[in-house]
Amino acid sequence: MLDAIGTVARLGLAAVWLISGAIKAADPNQTYAAVRAYQILPAGAVAPVAAVLPFLELAFGLLVLVGIGQRLMGVLSAALLLVYIAGVAQSWARGLTIDCGCFGGGGQVAAGQTQYPQEILRDIGFLALAVWLAVRPRSLFSVDGWLRRGRADTVDQEQDDADGPARSAVGRT
């Protein structure tokens, strides 16, 4: 049952990264405008970050989708989402009027058209998926599971798969 929830979290997070990455990759100039609108990065850093970001998100999406290095991907996804949330929060705090450009779009918007609370809430939802994977990186149909099972004796499959809890138990003894 928990594995099923993990699977849903994993596929959901993969969809988030793949969709947002694909939209950003399809319109690099818009992505550049979106990154620049946050007014955080120095002028020279905006272009490289805007160029890399879509591919990074697509890579995250692919890795999460196949379920390899699930705990690591959960941690990395959570870290990137925290950066995004911080970015939106600082825009809100500084009184910038921008669209987060989370799924395409981005850049300046009229004063009354910001949606900071919604954007942050949505990102927190995504963050929950990532945290789930980081804390309990077990899900169905993952490469991680296949790697463990494929080369393993079938004894105690359940225990063997319990990557997280088993490791902490070992650590304690």
């Binding site: 690099p28 100039n29 818009q30 550049y32 405008a33 620049r36 002028a43 020279g44 905006v46 272009a47 490289p48 160029a51 890399v52 970001l53 879509p54 591919f55 990074l56 697509l58 890579a59 995250f60 692919l62 890795l63 390899i68 290095g69 699930q70 705990r71 690591l72 991907m73 990395l76 918007v109 009229a110 004063a111 009354g112 058209q113 490469v143 991680d144 790697l147 463990r148 080369r151 393993a152 004796d153 004894v155 105690d156 063997d160 990557d163 088993a166 490791r167 070992v170």
Partner: protein
Amino acid sequence: MAGGKRNNRNTSQKQKQSAAAAKAVAAARSGKRDLTRIIGAVVVVVVIAAAVVGGVLFEQHKKSAAAETVIPAKTVAGSANYPVTIDKADATVLAGKTDAKVTIDAYEDFECPICKDFESANFTNVEKQLQSGTVKVRYHMINLLDGSSVPAGYSSMSANTALAVATVAPDKFIDFHYSLYQTQPEENGPGWTQAQLTSLANRLGVRGAEFDKLIADRTYYQQIQTNLDNASKNKALFQQAGGGQPTFGTPTIVVNGKVVNWQANTSWLRDAVKAAYPTS
């Protein structure tokens, strides 16, 4: 008793054995787990590194593709039929006969896509009126979108180059202006470089030490910025944009001192000419 001892020994041996077996299984299992984790981490690092490298390469490809563009030089045949003069102090260019009753002030940015739309929609009609002497156009080339190119500053650079063209060879200004809107760089993309802009001017026949110095010294940069600052404070030029407060933007088209909504009213030019020349 003896049997019991042996039994005990057997039991303890068995326990030892099974404990050892359990240890081995656990070791094997944790080894497997470690291996899985290592494989996972390696794959993650490799894929992410590939994505980052891919992004950088893509960015560089885009830059070099833009740098290789040769802006086609276009000439406007009828532009010899009216005078073009530059006001150096004001950094504006006036095209058309001085006694024309309709004065258009065009605030444009070479980076701005809607300015290109304006030019595409109105160039032919404006050109016709310029030639017939009913309209004169004052071009205010400003740098509103300096931040929207990579590297920043294409707006200033292109405006300065256009003004340098107008200084050295006023009769080529219309050609240069037209060519640059025909082949506009993408907004938020890499703009044309100074070399590309200079090449366009050269191919239109504008060259020489004076021109090169105007480019090298960035002669008009200061006044271009001043013009932008003044326009941004001038409420008479403000327009409603989106849902927000009216602000200054590009293009702003002013006919005899009044901003026109050229997008909503496509007959704005015909109306203006008719009002100024009721009999014709």
